[in-house]
């Protein structure tokens, strides 16, 4: 995916738009952009989810020639996009419940097929189901697994910000260890979220043997668009999990959403990869490895680790987690892992500090 160009912008190792050939440039504001999630919605400043959704859905709109419908789980994305009597969605969109987006998506896909067949139409609208990490990894997990298992023709997108932000930053099974949330308070001998809890839904999705699974980040929108487009080239169940920093929940500056997301990639904290039919097929390599402290120190949810009172053992443990990710997913070097990486939670559970 990455262009061969090596003219990085000074000091950042990022490739600016101007240095890419026009076909490769992102079209943030082009006239032809579908603008499916249009301006005027009520997301917070610097909302990673709004950014991720805008790019993901527009990419899917392009890939499907506008023949797209969305089932949205309850959560920030739903709340900020459809305050009665307005809607920021310029495509068919339904919100039903918190935990059922995947199943509603399956139902929409059935309806689309049946209606198209009856009308003798071969152009069947495609379906995306989407939700936050709470709606995906916790309350919606059963319906999600059911949709995967049946290989229903739905792309499920999880906007992962690592907690229940809509209800006021409570811990989900996607909350990383040691992170502060409203339900993993900074009290006791091990402040923040417990170690050895949580689940790795991309790896679980792969274990269903579905055609396509990927992780992505709002720090690499080109990669995100590419993955959504690729996902839409498959039929059957697909899963993309996008890291979307939440300035409010993470306690980072609204202006640093992309920076924090990038550091999550560059530290190995959040491996970005894609898998087809249960096998990892590509990995987004770290371009300039950074210590995890650089990621943590931008966020108040980790302030207890990065300040003077921070426990170096916990920091070392998070660093070890990142190093293990780098090794397991092959985030550095030219290789793609031969075997399915092990969920990082295994390392946590297998280790006592």
């Amino acid at each position: 995916m990455l262009d061969a160009i090596k003219f990085y912008q000074t000091g950042s190792k990022t490739v600016g738009n101007r240095l890419l050939n026009p076909s490769m440039r992102s079209n943030q504001a082009s006239e032809s952009r579908p603008n499916t999630l249009i301006s005027g919605h009520r997301a917070c400043q610097g909302c990673g989810e709004a950014l991720g959704a805008r790019y993901a859905i527009d990419a899917a709109m392009r890939a499907t020639n506008g023949q797209l419908m969305i089932a949205n789980a309850t959560g920030c994305l739903e709340v900020f996009s459809t305050p009665y009597p307005e809607s920021a969605w310029r495509l068919p969109w339904i919100h039903s419940l918190f935990g059922n987006a995947a199943a509603v998506g399956s139902g929409l896909a059935v309806a689309a097929r049946v209606r198209a067949k009856k009308a003798g139409n071969t152009n069947v609208p495609r379906v995306i189901a989407q939700g936050g990490d709470g709606g995906t990894t916790d309350i919606g997990f059963g319906p999600l697994s059911g949709m995967f298992e049946r290989n229903d023709d739905v792309l499920y997108i999880c906007y992962d910000n690592g907690a229940y932000m809509n209800t006021g930053v409570q811990r989900s099974s996607a909350t990383p260890p040691a992170a502060r949330t409203a339900t993993t308070q900074l009290v006791g001998s091990e402040p923040g979220a417990d170690w050895g809890k949580g689940k790795n839904v991309p790896l679980i999705a792969m274990a269903h043997g579905i055609p396509y699974v990927a992780t992505a980040s709002v720090a690499d929108l080109r990669d995100l668009e590419y993955k959504v487009q690729k996902a839409m080239s498959y039929h059957g169940a697909r899963y993309i999990q996008i890291l979307v920093p939440c300035p409010l929940g993470w306690g980072c500056a609204s202006s640093s959403t992309v920076t924090v997301a990038r550091l999550a990639m560059e530290t190995g904290f959040y491996p970005i990869f894609e898998a087809e039919y249960g096998k990892v097929t590509s990995v987004r390599k770290i371009t300039q490895k950074q210590p995890v402290i650089n990621f943590l120190k931008l966020q108040r949810r980790y302030a207890h680790l990065t300040g003077k009172k921070g426990d170096p053992k916990v920091l070392a443990r998070i660093q070890a987690m990142c190093d293990e990710n780098i090794k397991s997913f092959g985030l550095i070097g030219d290789e793609v892992p031969e075997t399915v990486p092990v969920a990082i939670q295994a390392l946590e559970r297998n280790q006592t500090v």
Binding site: I94, L108, V114
Partner: protein, 416 residues
Amino acid sequence: MLKQIEGSLGIAEAVALCRPGAVCAYPISPQTHIVENVGKFVKEGKLQDCEFVNVESEFSAMSVSIGASAGGVRTYTATASQGLLYMVEGIYNASGLGLPIVMTVASRAIGAPINIWNDHSDSLSQRDSGWLQLFCESNQDALDTHIMAFKIAEEVGLPVMVCMDGFVLTHAFERLDIPSQEQIDSFLPEYQPKEFLDPKEPISMGAMVGPEAFTELRFLIQRKMEKALDVIERVTKEYRELTGHHSGGLLDCYRCEDAELKLIILGSSVGTAKDEVDRLRDQGIKVGIISLKSYRPFPYAKLREAIGDCKKVVCLERSFSYGARGIICPEVKRAMEGTDCDIRTTVAGLGGRAIFGSTINKIVHASLEGKLKDEITWIDMDTKLLNSYLKDAEGVTVPEDALVDDSVLKATVGHA
């Protein structure tokens, strides 16, 4: 066409005649035979342009139904008991979204203790869900009601629960007259959704609504329910003319002319009661039955008319509201407000305890002999069994073979 088949198969045939585009369900007794058969019809091509989805839970069964209905196809599912409760969040959502889903509830008790047998506590627990709830007397009635349900749902713009007694009807092998496909095609034309998700005309469904409009949206659902009273009657009339089957309706009266006592009953016990009422009438006892078909919307005016100037009404309830009393009785009282009609209720047939003709006989005699002293009487209580617990646990007993009513209840807890 006459067939001697299981009730569940009859319902499956009825559903297939309605040409749904999406059917999904999760196994739970006693509903399973229905969807097994529908699934088979889809697989063998008897039911075309329809997809059958084997989901992983009732929650998803309702959710896939919501998606399919929002996507613009006629949608059917079925459940019972725990399954119904497991999908409750979706049940309320479907009515809020105005999706005309039709669902069979093969009525069954709710645990704990787990109990697979028939009563009405599952369906009645959903009385405030915004679904129409239509009860069926017999398998023929259930078969016909399912077909009418699609038409009613689509016209009213609300989902419909067809409540048929689990096992007693679903597993009974009886004679059924199944209408032809041509008849049903003329009665129920191809589904034309009023509103659905379509890339050609994008809409957003299920937006968040705040205090500024929520009350009004609730009122609009109540308005649909009010409209449904007429729709049910009209659709029933049309269906009866088409098929000659005396099914459906808001309620149905049996031997109510000159009746001095009218029983209000829901579901399959109506048939059992009819036989008993014939015997009682032969003995000169003037008793009639009002079979309550539509529980939601509740036909207050129609019921008041059906009760007329009869001074004695007894409900037979196969459900109960803890800490309160019967569930049906207060509705009947509301219908008869301002009259001097004496309305009592009896609880029987919970968790599959059979309702016999003799049960009906007992209720009628208890009523006529003035033995139904309180508003509510537990009619078929095994007082011996009850005492075996009460005596050991609390050192109290109830009189054996007594009708258990409020006075007995209060006596056992020391407030006589």
